[in-house]
Each structure stands twice: as structure tokens, then as C-alpha cells.
């Protein structure tokens, strides 16, 4: 029995189908990623799971029990880190965390210890008396996270927690999520940043228009597309005729010349770059920088939907 079990969930906003027969199963101890562009239904799915939104059909079970708006016993086992900053502007860092922790933990002494632990966890020890407006964007995001995790929930929903966050804070947040997972929390992580999902999630669901497009581990998803690697070669003397020659190679699936950069994709398992460079050398073309990378989840999304993840 999974920590989260959703069957056939359908949610409509008038004519718009936000979730279309959506199914989800998350096992205990997972960091599960919901990856999809803006408007794909990620936040709607979370709000339905938490019973904040009504839905047209489907069943939602959390911790093996049917979820309903008044299942406060189940809600107390859950932590929420919403997409938007959701804290009191007029309360300090400590007061905010203490208040949100109090919604789950009534014992003042226990709460005090939990709040201190959460402050240490997100690294806001020097800012406990600061109000949110005095914090930088990254620190404010950490406060938003601390308010959602202070009560040590078993299941934590992170809804795009790194939007508009600097790289340093983003890394700190992602590392923190992995630590929470190591300490026993099951995590549902939504994002439209494929790199983040690739970095921390054990399983990933790609979602678009409220429908599940793909589900699996990072490597399983990349296995869905027939791309071995992507290569970019900077040519000293760009020549359009080289495109046809490279395209003729059996392991090359696509090629284009954009300015002085030759971009191509190769089949999985082929020799790839070596043969291409031999061809260019034989044609008398000189080249500069050569860049090769494995396929990304964006390539998976592109292959399935025909559009970029961030379109």
C-alpha cells in the first residue's frame, strides 16, 4: 500500500479539464517528481489530494485511508510547502515557524524544540528575529519551507519551491529535501525545472494537460526516446554541404547548422562523436569547440509532445 494512492481523478474548471483520469501511486520513502509545464495540473493535483479543491470524480487515499476535508488526523501527518510565499509579513522568522508548527503540535515544549530544529535545518539561525520582507528571496523561500516541515511530517508536498530562487539557495533547498527524505519523509516534488527533478527524484511522472505522459525513473524515462547523445560542433568555416554528409551517417538521427554551430543527435549505443569528427576532418573542415551531452527529460518531453517543456 502506497503513501499516496490516486485513482481516476478528474477535475474540471468549467470547459477546461485540469486533471484527466489522473492516477498516482507513491511509495513510502520515495522522492516523487511531478514534472510538467505551467498549467499542466501539478498544483491542482496537490490541492485535490489535500481536499482544498473539489473534484468531479476519482478516489484519493493517503496513508492507506480515504482522504476527506475533515480528516485532520491525516492532515497532521502532512507538510505543505506552497508555490507562493505563504507566511505572515508581520511576524518574525521564529514566530512564523512557531505558528505553523502550532497548527500541528500543541505541546509548547515540544514545539520549541521542533522550531529550533527547523531553523537550523534551513539555516536561518541568524535571522530568527527578521521579518520576511527583510529576507532575500532565497532566505524567504527557506522560511516558507521551514514553516511546512517543522512538525516533522511523514509526507511533504513541495510545490515548485525553487521558483525565482538564486542558484546557491536552490542547491541548498534541493539538498535539504534530500536530507528530509533520508530522515524518513516521503516527498512529492513538483517542478517545471527538469534538472531539479533529475537531480533529486527517485521516480518521475511527466504531466501535461492533466494527463500522465510518462512515468518511471530518470533512466527509464530517457529510455523512452531513441537518443544516445546530443552533439554540438563549432565550425571554423561553416558549410551547408556538410549537413547532408553528416545526415548520411547511419547513427545520426537529426542535424542542423545554426550559424557556425552544427547541432546533431545520435542514436543510443552508437560511436557518435568520433565518426562525425572523422567525417569533418576528411572533408577538410576545421572545427573548434565540441560539446556532447546525454539526453534530458526535456528531450523526452519534446519527443512525446512535440514541444519544449518550457514552451
Amino acid at each position: 500500500m502506497g503513501v499516496v494512492e490516486i485513482h481516476d481523478l478528474t477535475k474540471r474548471y468549467k470547459e477546461l479539464v485540469a486533471l484527466d483520469h489522473f492516477n498516482l501511486s507513491i511509495e513510502k520513502g520515495e522522492v516523487f517528481g511531478l514534472l510538467g509545464p505551467n498549467g499542466s495540473g501539478k498544483t491542482t493535483a496537490i490541492n485535490c489530494m489535500l481536499q482544498l479543491l473539489t473534484y468531479d470524480r476519482g478516489t484519493i487515499e493517503l496513508f492507506g485511508e480515504t482522504m476527506s476535508p475533515t480528516r485532520y488526523d491525516l492532515k497532521r501527518r502532512i507538510g505543505i510547502v506552497p508555490q507562493n510565499m505563504a507566511v505572515f509579513d508581520t511576524l518574525s522568522v521564529y514566530e512564523n515557524i512557531d505558528y505553523f508548527c502550532s497548527l500541528y503540535v500543541s505541546d509548547a515544549n515540544r514545539r520549541k524544540a521542533l522550531v529550533e530544529e527547523a531553523i537550523d535545518f534551513v539555516g536561518l539561525g541568524d535571522y530568527r528575529k527578521f521579518r520576511p520582507r527583510k529576507l532575500s528571496g532565497g532566505l524567504a523561500r527557506r522560511l516558507n519551507i521551514a514553516c511546512g516541515i517543522a512538525h516533522k511530517p511523514e509526507l511533504i508536498f513541495f510545490d515548485e519551491p525553487t521558483v525565482a530562487v538564486d542558484p546557491q539557495s536552490r542547491n541548498a533547498i534541493l539538498e535539504g529535501i534530500q536530507r528530509l527524505n533520508q530522515e524518513g519523509s516521503t516527498v512529492l516534488y513538483t517542478s517545471h525545472y527538469m534538472e531539479e527533478v533529475e537531480q533529486i527524484c527517485t521516480r518521475i511522472m511527466i504531466l501535461d494537460h492533466g494527463q500522465q505522459l510518462a512515468l518511471g525513473t530518470n533512466s527509464e524515462l530517457k529510455g523512452l526516446v531513441d537518443i544516445g547523445e546530443k552533439v554540438e560542433i563549432e565550425l571554423a568555416t561553416p558549410d551547408q554541404s556538410v549537413v547532408a554528409a553528416v545526415q548520411a551517417l547511419p547513427h545520426v538521427t537529426g542535424v542542423s547548422l545554426e550559424g557556425d554551430v552544427l547541432k546533431l543527435t545520435c542514436l543510443r549505443g552508437a560511436r557518435g562523436v568520433g565518426e562525425i569528427l572523422d567525417l569533418l576532418h576528411g572533408s577538410g573542415l576545421t572545427y573548434g569547440r565540441v560539446y556532447s551531452e546525454p539526453p534530458t527529460l526535456n528531450d523526452v518531453f519534446l519527443a512525446i509532445t512535440g514541444k519544449e517543456l518550457r514552451d
Binding site: 481536499q51 511576524l91 505558528y99
Partner: protein, 395 residues
Amino acid sequence: MGITFITTVKTLVRQRDTLLWAIAFPLVLCTLIYAMLGNLDEAYALKPVEIVVVDDAAYQATTGLPEMITALSKDTVAEGDTAIFDTTYVDSDEAARQALTDGDYTGFITVDATGQPAFHVDARYASSTTGTNASIVKIVLDQYWQTASLVGAMAQTDPSLFTDPALLERLTTEVSYTQRVSVTANPPSDSLAYMYSALAFSVIMMMSFALAAVEDIQANTSALGARRSLAGQSKARTLAPAIAASWVVGFGVQLVGYSYVKFAFGTSFGGKDPAVLLTLAVGVLAMTFTGAFVGSLPISSGAKSGITATLSCFLSLFAGLYGPFAQDLAESAAENAPLFALANPARQVTQAFHALYYYDGYQQFFQAILALLGLAAVFFVLSTLMLRRKRYASL
């Protein structure tokens, strides 16, 4: 629930703009009223008329005039009586005329050889109050002369009359054919009536605290509200302390206004301070639930703020708080639409204060208090019905 209460108090108190405006409004309004009307009561108070008396042999020879002047003068009046004169004594007419030239006296009294007193006014030194003051002096002197003449005539015609105690009683007692009654419970004070109006205005503004507190717990109005709605406790456990905190902050603001009016301006509420405080407490309660109801409406925050501002003005208009025109309008509305008047918390707050100002008894006062409690209950039920929803079709 305790921490939700404390947190809500903190958030409301730390919203400086809202709090300062809520506190500053009654203070500024009361200060303006005091500045404009504070002298009004003083102007209506009877001030002793400054006179000069030529204290010569003729004056001393009269029967009872020196004693009467002394009894009515500022420094020698009996305790509890009102002084009519502020008397300065000189020994000659010339000295009296010089006193008129040098000082702010209305005139001077002399007594002629027959014992008849006269009051002299010099037109060169007349002021706007000279006519009224001279009339007061003339009435006193006329009454003296009338009584003195009567006593003299009786002594000449039939001295045995003075052996009749009843007759002597009638001669020495001032006969008044009108009775002085007070139509208000307290000494009439125009500034107090305006202070009550200012306090009523201030109470009506207390909707804003509950509006802000309720907005913060609704999932469809803010991310903060959504987060609080997802927590592991019922909405009632969040709503009840939030509303209680709104009332506490609102009542605290009213206490500041009340203390300012009472202690900074020395305003007397005629010993009805507990009733004034009760009106403030119940009035804030009714406005708190009115604000909670507006806050619970499924509309945008901007629309709610607009409704609150409009409602404050509208309710105040029909409470008669905008002057004589509004008072006529309010009375007309109360006659033609009594239910509307009853359901107007601003009018009920105003009515409670008016009852304290105009009536000795508390019947009208408690009618208004009961109406306010009833309105609080109605808005509590309405806001609870609106806020009980736990799930939304969209956010």
C-alpha cells in the same frame, strides 16, 4: 487556539497603517471637536458681572443693600450659591468713574440721599456683554428697591405687621413662578454630544480588523489562507480565536480613544463611564462580526475593502452622524423603515450613546445594547455559514 489568538493580535497590532489610522481617527476627530467646541460650554456658563460699588455713607445707610451685594459677590457668596457679582468697592463717584476707565467693569452702583440705588454705565467703555450684564444688575437692584420700599411703607403704616412670621417669610423669600428642570441626565454639554458622535464613528470603523483577520484564514483569498486551511485543525479552531483577537484589538483602540477624551480633555460622562465602556465593547463586537461577514464574502479583497468603506459611510449616514441633514434622514428612515434602522449597527451605537446623554434611566440604553448583541449574533451566524466551506471549486 491560544497561539492563533496571540498571533492574530500580533498581526493586527503590527499592521501599522491600519492600527495608526484606527487610533488616530478618533483622537484627531475628538481633538478637532474639542478645539472647535471646547469653549462652547464655557461661553454658556454664567460669569460674575464685574461692578464697582461706591461704598459711602448713603450706601451704608440703606437697609440690607450692602448685605445683599455681599451675599451675591464672588468672594463672599455662600457655598453652593452662584456668584452674580465680582465687586470692587471705592469711596467716591470719581473713584468709580476712574475704575471704569482703568478696568473692565460693566458699571458702578451709587445710592442717593433717599436710599435708592442707581447703576451707572459709561457708553465709552461698553462691550458686547454690557447690555446683558447691566440688565442683570438692574433686575437685582429693582428687586431690592421694590422690597425695601414695601418694608418701609409697612413700617410707616402698620408696624405690627412685622410680628406676623408668615408675612416676614414671604417678604424675605424670592418667589419664582417657573420651575427649573434639566432635560438631560447630565449638565447640558454640546461638546459631550459631539464626543459621543466621534466615539460612535470610531466604533463603526472597527470592521477593518475582523475583515483582515478573516481574509487571512480563507483559502480562496491568499496563499497564507490556503496554507492555514490545509493545516491539521478545523476551521472553527482558527476562526474563533481570530475573531476574538479582532474584538480585543478593536476594543483596545476604543479604550485609547475613551481615555483620551476623558483624561486629556477632562470630559465628564456624568458618572456613566461603565455604560460608555459597555457601549464601546458591544459596539465593537457588532462591528467585528459585521467585518467578519464582509470578509467571508466570496469576492476579491479589493471589493471587500470597498464594501467596508462604503458600508461605514452608508451606516453612519443613516445613524445621523453627518450633521442635521443626516439626523433628519436617519429619523425619517427610522420612522418609515424601522427594521432597517434596527439592523443598522451604527445607528444602535449612536442610539446607545444618545440614551446615555439624554435619559436618566437605562431602558433606551439597554434596548440599543440588546439590538447590538442581536446584530452581532446574526452576523456571527451569517459569517459562520459563509466560512464553514472547506473545499473550493477553484482557488
